[in-house]
Amino acid sequence: MSTQTPQPSQAAPDTTRIHNIGYRSYDGPRLGRSYARRSLFSQSLRGAYGLGRSAKSKVLPMLLFGVMCVPALIIVAVAVVTKQTKLSIEYTQYAIFLQVVIGIFLASQAPQSVSRDLRFRTVPLYFSRPIERADYVLAKFGAMASALFLLTSVPLLILWIGSLLAKMDFGTQTQMFGQGLLSVALLSLLFGGIGLVMAALTPRRGFGVAAVIGALTISYGAVSTLQGIAYGTDNLGAISWLGLFSPITLIDGVQTAFLGAPSSFPGGEGPGAGTGAVYLLVVLALVAGSYGILMRRYRKVGL
């Protein structure tokens, strides 16, 4: 190969091979902590709907999203066709009505979001980077709450658009839509926090699913049973206090007290403004508590 005469031509492409193997350094931007936190947030939010994951993992969240929207579409279609002046469901009642779907979504996606990192010991790789514990927890919490908010607010949006198509009163509908959004925002934070705490307790995904389902259904089952007994025995005062002990009744109480929602409690015995303030405080304390527990949980994981 060393005895050839000069050939300053660009021919012979068929014998051309590219040896582009040298190491290249990186002199571009390093966007740091807040960027990493945002990236983790968007990756986790997308992941909750199976985006960026396998086709198989898209099935359940997308199906549940569809199930959440279908009743709203039917209600809207009926309202438009029959020219109703009022939707057949309150905005604030919609999430309560479909709480099982929300529960299944949370139970399937919260473990996916946090248990995997614990189980496969990926967490240390995060913490060996500029990202810190609080960034990780905030990103995961924010993503889970946002995923739930999407799941619960899109049907409300459908209802609202439908109400306008059916020429219902714009002012009233918009106000109720706003109240509904506030309610599901609170629900998303509360459920997201509880779901992640339950899921982060165990690296085993199956246990995580069971723990989330259990936390939601057992507490709701117990509360509604006791409320039923209280109602049957004419202990009406106890009904609204009992509602403090399950996530969905907490949301129900807050929206009855502050967001003009009709109560789903037996006999419609929802809390008034005074008890309602306790409800709101408990919800906020649970959200903050979930954050605190998650922070503690990851302190031990460290490396």
Binding site: T15, G22, Y26, R30, Q43, D117, S128, L303
Partner: protein, 394 residues
């Protein structure tokens, strides 16, 4: 001459395109150097030849003698029941440093402290000149970490995983993707990088773990027991790869092992600890590394029908130590001149002598191995398929 410039690439007489290394073109030193040269006398880079051309120059540029990469002073870490580190003082410079000690000696504890993730009970530590107590985040931005345990989710591909980790290090999305592709190739993962990692062998998993530590182009990587679980061949490959992280990528390495002796060939410096105290700290004086062998190949010209002989005579006249005889009987070896490089001056000297003689420089490679090993068929670049680059065996 038998190399021609082709839009950023260099075309060799064998039809191969050799892309020049951006890293080096970016460096002012190399830029100036290029300008001085006749246009055909350019740096040739290839992974086939492990450390082609100016690798030493790159290394030297970053190896200012008194630079300290890691410094600890009376560093202690006490857990309720055990003292993991006991007043350990270390001063580690650029290059590959081995941290050796039995299980429980305190190696992993040391790495956690250096990453700023675990506070020392006593004493201080600096990484890249930054205090671990106050600058943890900045340190972690410029340092890579490979844990000793498994850390790979089985249901995602190496590419997806490393891209995500690059973004967690602060790289923008496009850069994260580009660097992931590069880095996975450098550690020797090709088509399999698109498959879920659950199906990977231990060796492949270790490579992905290394890749995620390198993807953001750190200045230093902390590798915790990277050879754990590997068979002898995989172990050698991993150690070769680690050596290259420093020689080819210019990234300093701290690598731990519980096996005494394993790291001696890979490291410039070995620190042995036991029960959290320093047992020994020594430079490895390995002939094959301290003296660098250069392989030079030149073209013939009308005035010098045997270019190799002409160069040999000229270099001998200039006082360069030439190796003779070893290449006999091996394909193409007659055209390759082996000489001893005393330092950067030797590179300059060869360049000048070749230019004065009016010859074309086909290649100038640094060879780190035992001379006898260099010419084993599999170590010879002509015999390798460029699509299937192997990590260097040693």
């Amino acid at each position: 001459m038998n190399v021609t410039m082709l839009g950023g690439c260099v075309k060799g007489s064998d039809g191969a395109l050799w892309k020049s290394r951006r890293r080096d073109l970016d460096r002012p030193r190399e830029k100036d150097f290029r300008r001085e040269l006749p246009y055909w006398l350019v740096l040739l880079w290839s992974d086939k030849d492990r450390a082609v051309g100016w690798t030493t120059a790159v290394a030297h540029a970053t190896t200012v003698e008194d630079v300290t990469v890691i410094a600890t002073e009376s560093l202690s870490k006490r857990f309720p029941r055990v003292t993991a580190l006991d007043r350990l003082s270390l001063d580690i410079g650029p290059g590959v440093t081995g941290l050796v000690g039995a299980n429980g000696a305190g190696k992993s504890t040391m790495i956690k402290i250096l990453l700023g993730l675990s506070p020392a009970t006593e004493g201080r530590a600096e990484v890249l000149g930054m205090d671990v107590r106050t600058s943890g985040a900045q340190i972690r931005e410029r340092v890579g970490y490979m844990p000793e345990h498994d850390c790979l989710p089985p249901d995602v591909s190496a590419t997806e995983f490393v891209v995500h980790m690059a973004r967690m290090s602060g790289l923008p999305a496009t850069a994260a993707r580009e660097r992931t592709a590069d880095t996975l190739r450098h550690v020797g993962l090709y088509e399999e990088r698109y498959r879920p990692m659950g199906g990977y062998s231990t060796g492949m998993k270790q490579r992905v773990k290394l890749a995620q530590a390198l993807v953001h182009d750190p200045k230093l990587v902390l590798l915790d027991e990277p050879t754990n679980g590997l068979d002898p061949v995989g172990r050698d490959e991993m150690l070769g790869l680690i050596r290259r992280v420093w020689t080819d990528f210019g990234i300093s390495v701290l690598v731990t092992s519980h096996l005494l002796g394993e790291l001696e060939r890979t490291c410039d410096h070995v620190v042995v600890i036991d029960g959290g105290t320093l047992l020994r700290s020594s430079s490895t004086s390995d002939f094959t590394r301290t003296t660098t062998t250069l392989a030079v190949e030149v073209t013939d010209s009308d005035t010098h029908p045997d270019g190799t002989a002409a160069l040999r005579a000229a270099l001998a006249g200039a006082g360069v130590t030439l190796h003779a005889g070893v290449e006999d009987g091996l394909p193409g070896a007659g055209h390759i001149l082996l000489l001893e490089a005393a330092g950067e001056e030797t590179y300059d000297l060869v360049r000048d002598v070749v230019a004065d003689l009016g010859l074309g420089l086909v290649r100038m490679e640094q060879r780190r191995h035992h001379i006898a090993e260099v010419f084993r068929p599999e170590a010879s670049p002509q015999h390798e398929d460029p699509q299937h680059e192997e990590v260097p065996a040693r």
